[in-house]
């Protein structure tokens, strides 16, 4: 079974907010709810860098662990979904989430939170009918065999969505191509490699050791 993940290549993200808009449009989320956001560090400086974030569909999800109602569940594809009929809007998932993904419509008295809303990896949620599902959770593109719209729309293909192995392979390939010495998140300066060296070793360097076992 696939393990669905997002991956944002911060060296490609140009802070266009296309993903944010695509998401809002695909899911028609409530007023004030914006499931995806773009965070920019050092805005306006040469070192400026941006990254698009939403729910990361954690393997060992903190939100699931703290929810007093136990309304979260994980699909076979590793997507973290929740049942709005059971959610009580206590906010615990937000306290625990590493990425600030859960959001709450503030509609009720005394600032009482409404039902939690977060990215569903465009996989909808539990409901009787398709209409109800769309109303409550937004699009279910996964059921139609499509990937989340944010990643599909990303103009620079900075935001990748899909099976963890596949998208990390793509990312690793880019990292090697760019000449990082050991991985995109390393602190080393970009290696001084020349074109032919990189091209010759690209395939070998880009894929991880598990590839052989996965495919063979």
């Amino acid at each position: 079974m696939a393990q669905m993940k997002f991956l944002c290549d911060a060296e490609r993200c140009i802070e266009c907010n296309g993903c944010v808009t695509a998401c809002k449009n695909a899911n028609e989320t409530d007023w004030g709810i914006q499931r995806r956001r773009v965070v920019t560090l050092d805005d306006g400086k040469p070192s400026e860098v941006s990254i698009s974030v939403a729910c990361m569909h954690c393997d060992d999800a903190p939100c699931m662990a703290v929810c007093p109602t136990d309304c979260f569940y994980k699909t076979d594809d590793g997507i973290v979904l929740h049942d709005k009929d059971i959610c009580i809007g206590c906010g615990y998932c937000l306290y625990a989430c590493p990425f600030g993904a859960p959001q709450f419509p503030k509609e009720e008295a005394f600032g009482e939170r409404g039902k939690m809303d977060k990215c569903t990896f465009c996989a909808g949620g539990p409901a009787e009918t398709k209409e109800e599902e769309y109303e409550k959770y937004g699009a279910n593109r996964i059921a139609e065999g499509k990937l989340p719209l944010c990643a599909e729309m990303c103009s620079t293909k900075a935001l990748l969505a899909g099976d963890a192995q596949t998208i990390s392979d793509i990312f690793r390939q880019r990292v090697v191509y760019r000449g990082h010495e050991d991985g995109g998140w390393s602190s080393v300066e970009k290696a001084q490699m020349s074109g032919p060296d990189v091209s010759a070793n690209l395939d070998e360097m880009a894929y991880d050791a598990t590839r052989a076992t996965r495919e063979g």
Binding site: A10, E11, R12, E15, N17, V20, G32, Q34, R37, V38, V39, T40, L41, D42, D43, P46, S47, E48, V49, I51, V53, P62, A65, V66, C67, P68, T69, D70, D83, D85, I86, I88, G89, C90, G91, Y92, Y95, A96, C97, P98, F99, G100, K106, F110, G111, E112, R113, Y177, R178, G179, W185, S186, S187, E189, K190, M193, S194, G195, V198, S199
Partner: protein, 347 residues
């Protein structure tokens, strides 16, 4: 003159041709994929470990979510999860379960603290109608808050599996609503009750002696006690300290509209969990002593009057003050005013 004009004309032609060339070059589709060297040259400044450290610090960033104060990585979230799930939650079960076990054993081994002498039938006013209604309102709210609070902490391990999703959804939603609305009422009434009973709960020298004799819970000793004995005073001061922490942390969680941050909420929740569990554990002791544990105590809080014998045995210093008032309970309406009853309350 003629040659100069020709020169200029030529220059203009060369210029136009150059411009076209530049335009063409820039519009032409790239002939091949970018060379690795070029890609390296064009890439954003290195995204390195320091970048991700900065993300964690939450400084120097902007966020496309308009009202978001949530920095990208929330490192304390996992800590909070660990503390709540691995420590607070099991510790609460151990504390409450342990207390219940101790009380059951105590009741079986030592039994009820009975009156040593026959009742005289002469009654003394101990709690006014106002005090009794205050006590029972706060107690009812406390029990409601405890049960709904426990449901928030432990309910998911039991009720969803037993009763199914629909029942559970209503049950936990009801719990949250009751908890969130009863909480502030409890908080306000708790302050009223603490203010009302402050005077009789100020510590005195004889309280120390009371502790040394274990409150006379086991055996026949009856250490000196005023209107409130030292044990009751401890319960009072626990409510005044830990109880107020429960209320304050509850308020922080209850109204997320005063700019509390996610970190504030984590702290408030930990405080609220720990302090409310302490309170619930001790409250079990209080309830035991007030009902099963002591003959005649519940009577006082139910009717307002206690028997002379009970007063002498449990609150001798107070009894000495008020024994002259002992008599038949007044059935008259309105009941004895607050001032009459509180006039004679040495602590």
């Amino acid at each position: 003159m003629h040659t100069l004009m020709q020169c200029l004309w030529r220059l203009r032609m060369i210029g136009a041709v150059l411009l076209l060339a530049v335009l063409a070059a820039s519009l032409a589709p790239p002939t091949s994929a970018a060379e690795p060297d070029e890609e390296i040259g064009q890439a954003v400044g290195t995204v390195d470990a320091d970048t991700w450290r900065q993300v964690k610090s939450g400084e120097n960033f902007i966020d496309s979510r308009h009202d978001s104060t949530y920095n990208l990585i929330n490192p304390s979230g996992e800590t909070w999860r660990q503390i709540r799930n691995e420590w607070v939650s099991p510790a609460g079960l151990i504390a409450i379960g342990g207390m219940l076990t101790v009380l059951v054993i105590f009741y079986l081994v030592v039994g009820r603290n009975d009156l040593d002498h026959e009742r005289t039938g002469r009654k003394i006013l101990r709690w006014t109608a106002f005090e009794r209604s205050l006590h029972w309102t706060v107690a009812t709210l406390f029990i409601a808050l405890s049960l709904t609070g426990l449901n928030l902490l432990y309910g998911k391990f039991v009720f969803r599996h037993v009763f199914g999703d629909v029942f559970w959804a209503n049950m936990i939603m009801g719990s949250k609503l009751i908890h969130n609305y009863a909480g502030p009422v409890f908080g306000i009434l708790l302050i009223v009750i603490l203010a009302k009973w402050l005077k009789v709960n100020l510590p005195k020298k004889h309280d120390w002696e009371w502790f040394k004799q274990g409150g006379g819970m086991v055996g026949d000793k009856h250490p000196d006690a005023g209107f409130a004995n030292a044990g009751e005073k401890v319960w009072f001061w626990l409510l005044a300290s830990v109880g107020m922490l429960v209320v304050v942390s509850g308020f922080v969680l209850d109204f997320p509209i005063f700019g509390q941050t996610r970190d504030n909420m984590q702290w408030a929740n930990m405080f609220h969990g720990v302090t409310s569990l302490i309170l619930m554990t001790v409250a079990l002791g209080h309830i035991y002593i007030g009902t099963l544990g002591t003959e005649g105590a519940l009577e006082g809080m139910a009717t307002g009057y206690v028997d002379e014998t009970w007063a002498k045995q449990h609150h001798n210093l107070w009894y000495e003050e008020v024994k002259d008032n002992a008599g038949q309970p007044q059935q008259s309406d309105p009941p004895v005013g607050d001032d009459t009853a509180t006039a004679h309350r040495p602590n």
